[in-house]
Amino acid sequence: MKRRDFFKSAAIVGIASFFKTNALGSVLSGKEMAVHSQPDLVAVMGGEPAAMLVRALKELGGIGHFVKRGQKVVIKPNIGWDKSPELGANTNPELIGELVKLCKGAGASEVIVFDHSCQDWKKCYANSGIEKAVLAAGGKMVPANDESYYREVEFPRGVNLKNAKVHQSLLECDVWFNVPVLKDHGGAKNTISMKNLMGIVWDRGYFHSHDLHQCIADAATFHKKPALNIVDAYRIIKSNGPQGKSESDVVKLKSLLVSPDYVAVDTAAIKLYSQVRPTDLKDVRYIELAEKNRVGTQHLEKLNVKRIKM
């Protein structure tokens, strides 16, 4: 190789790496262009939690598309209840474990997992199986049981919720994933991705006393959007939610819905849930209110939805 050829190619690579877009990356590595085909929502059905996550992420450009080397990652599952995984009250531990593993694999410097539990937090962390899965995958469980872990945040686009205290780890991270579980819910009708945001704030009582639905929709205006909402619908609770009384409240749907759009993923989840228990999307009022807050769309037909059966 001549010296000037060397400089030329070095310059090209340098410029290319400066742009560093995914499209350019895939051109260089000889793969197909990924920009236009990237779906807005991926729905997977029929697999195990970890496999479905890997499959869905593949459609979205892989975990490396969201997590870069050295970044601090937060994962926010639903760990609200002191219940075992079979009862479907918390996010599936295998799903969380796999996500931690993928983030670590993508070079994340730290993967933090927390939830502001409704019951004895230590028991919730332990009996949900999430603590074990997270620690095994190299992640870190962080407490959320005390007000001192929360910092005041403004919600300028909120209607009823103008400010709230949010967990500090979420404010300090580079990327976060919202990983709820799909369930029936006595108060909010259904709990999915936006309802899961009540676990990032300290004072939930405010939500309940200032129009629950409006506050949930307002919470979705939180300035730091999750990279993805990963809705676990492997086991769902169809009745007596959000805790459930026994396994007869649980239905195994073996599904996973993934989207960066809160409203779209919650809409899709309600439609999936409706096949088990008919639910009017209008009754889950926070979905419409969130659309009014311009945090997403209910119109799945306008989106690029990828449906995968395993």
């Binding site: 729905a43 059905m45 002191d82 730290e110 409704c118 019951q119 004895d120 230590k122 028991k123 870190k140 469980m141 962080v142 407490p143 049981n145 005390d146 001192s148 872990y149 500090q168 819910h185 006595g186 108060g187 909010a188 939930r204 009582g205 405010y206 939500f207 309940h208 006393s209 129009d211 629950l212 639905h213 169809k238 009745s239 007596n240 939610g241 959000p242 805790q243 009384k245 026994s246 007869s248 409240d249 239905v251 749907l253 599904s255 809409t267 899709a268 439609k271 999936l272 849930y273 409706s274 096949q275 088990v276 228990r277 009017d280 209008k282 009754d283 009022r285 799945l300 939805v305 449906r307």
Partner: protein, 510 residues
């Protein structure tokens, strides 16, 4: 015979440390069976009628004297620790030197008689206040434990700012002014007495110490001074923290001796020893107590009657909101309020072990005789965990009968009272459902209201009174749903299972 003192010290450490650490452990990491050490305390054993333990303690006292006071009783050992530590605050760091004092018979026998009479008349008020183990428990839970938690929280605060979450913050929930004041008063009294007068608390106020003193008068082994070897140097007397050795007359007051064996190490001549009482046919000196007891009895009876009248004024006059005058919620396993009030010594062990910190010492909820006995006090996120049985399993006095999880899940410690006119669904016509969301049995469930809204409804026979609904109800200060305590804990109906969904879903539905 110096080894006896060393054995005593080793034994007291073996008994004291686990109990102390168990009381201040707020992480729940210490294994629960440690509480078995607590069932060998005198009052808990008596109240739970643990025949085996009572027998063992009785034999120990009859053989060795007041060995309970010097090794097993945590309050006794605490006083030794305080006396020992007080050395560092004295001039020249010298050991305290004691002198013989006459026994305060009228005082100590009156207190004992009063406690017994009040108890027989049906109020455990004085037992609760004066049981040495429970006094220790209250000091540990109200004074020492909060300090440890503060330390932990300070550490957690500093470290969590740096992203280290090894320590987590713990809320100081169990703090109750009345219990704190009583604990600190006893702490001051006992510290002051042990600081200057060794075991004078045990020998003047403590009813357990006084009654064991009656036994130790006739114990098989006792401390005695050999008339031939004694030079009246007074070395033993100076070491006697019970102030019961009179070196001039060479007499040891057995009723006050706590068998600490400090005197044995002090005597250079071997003039004082721990030996068999009945080797010579000694005639026991006529006990002075006989003279005292009648007047003591008369004195104390009067006082007892007064205090019974005082203790039974437990009616709280109704205030504005019914939530303020509700019946107290007893911990699960208490069965009836009479059983509970009579057997609980307010040692605070269940309060310190409750992982949700929902148990708190009562103020006057149970009336005056139930001061500091635990009750459930619900506040945001603080309620009784459905599957948890820790309080009933650690209770040393039998006030709470042990429950297995399946029993506990059906024990009705109270019932939820729903007040529709306060509920946000009614007042604001907005969805809420927080109460039903937290209800483990779905006794509180949502029924259609209007405009697609749902409103709570309570099925009383399903309700176990855990208070999850009350703890989370956003209506404050007086919640729209609250738990009224049961005076007799019943059994709830087992929640029925919902209909299973068996159809296979193969479609996304969108």
């Amino acid at each position: 015979m110096k080894f006896l003192k060393h054995i005593r010290i080793v034994l007291s450490v073996i008994f004291f440390l686990p109990i102390f650490v168990f009381f201040i452990d707020f992480t729940g990491k210490l294994p629960l069976p440690v509480h078995k050490l607590l069932s060998i305390q005198w009052i808990p054993a008596l109240l739970s009628l643990n025949v085996l333990i009572i027998g063992i303690l009785l034999l120990l006292s009859l053989f060795f004297g007041r060995i309970y006071c010097s090794t097993i009783c945590p309050l006794g050992v605490l006083q030794d620790v305080l006396t020992w530590k007080s050395r560092f605050f004295r001039k020249k760091k010298k050991k305290i030197r004691y002198d013989y004092t006459a026994p305060k018979n009228i005082l100590r026998y009156s207190i004992l008689a009063l406690t017994l009479i009040v108890f027989i008349f049906g109020s455990s008020f004085l037992v609760v206040i004066l049981d040495p183990y429970s006094i220790f428990g209250r000091m540990a839970s109200q004074l020492f434990r909060p300090l440890v938690i503060w330390g932990n929280n300070a550490l957690a605060y500093v470290l969590s700012a740096k992203g280290i979450y090894t320590f987590y913050k713990v809320e100081q929930v169990a703090f109750v002014p009345l219990a704190f004041i009583i604990s600190i008063l006893f702490f001051i009294l006992i510290t002051q007495m042990s600081w200057f007068k060794g075991r004078s608390y045990c020998n003047t106020i403590c009813p357990v110490g006084t009654s064991l003193g009656l036994l130790s008068r006739i114990s098989v082994f006792h401390i005695s001074i050999s008339e031939s070897a004694c030079t009246h140097c007074g070395a033993c007397e100076k070491q006697c923290k019970s102030q019961c050795i009179d070196s001039e007359t060479m007499k040891v007051d057995d009723s006050r001796c706590v068998t600490c064996f400090n005197c044995l190490s002090a005597c250079k001549k071997g003039g004082i020893s721990y030996n068999f009482r009945y080797k010579k046919e000694q005639v026991q000196p006529v006990q002075q107590k006989v003279n005292n007891s009648r007047r003591t009895f008369l004195l104390s009876s009067g006082a007892a009657l007064a205090s019974i009248a005082f203790a039974n004024t437990n009616k709280i006059i109704g205030k504005k909101d019914p939530i303020l005058s509700r019946k107290p919620v007893m911990p699960p396993g208490a069965s009836t309020i009479e059983h509970f009030n009579d057997h609980c010594t307010a040692c605070q062990l269940c309060v310190t072990k409750c992982p949700m910190q929902v148990l708190k010492p009562a103020a006057f909820q149970y009336g005056i005789s139930g001061i500091m006995q635990p009750h459930l006090s619900f506040s945001t996120h603080i309620f009784c965990t459905y599957e948890c049985t820790i309080c009933s399993s650690v209770c040393p006095t039998g006030a709470l009968q042990p429950l297995v999880t399946e029993e506990k899940k059906l024990i009705q410690i109270g019932t939820a009272q729903f007040r529709k006119d306060k509920c946000v669904v009614f007042t604001k016509e907005e969805d809420c459902g927080a109460c039903s969301e937290h209800c483990p049995t779905q006794a509180v469930h949502m029924i259609p209201y209007k405009n697609g809204l749902t409103i709570p409804e309570v099925t009383k026979d399903l309700c176990v009174g855990c208070g999850a609904c009350e703890s989370i109800c956003p209506v404050r200060p007086y919640q729209a749903i609250y738990v009224e305590g049961s005076t007799k804990q019943g059994i709830a109906r087992k929640p029925s299972e919902s209909k299973k969904f068996n159809k296979k879903i193969n479609d996304f539905g969108f």
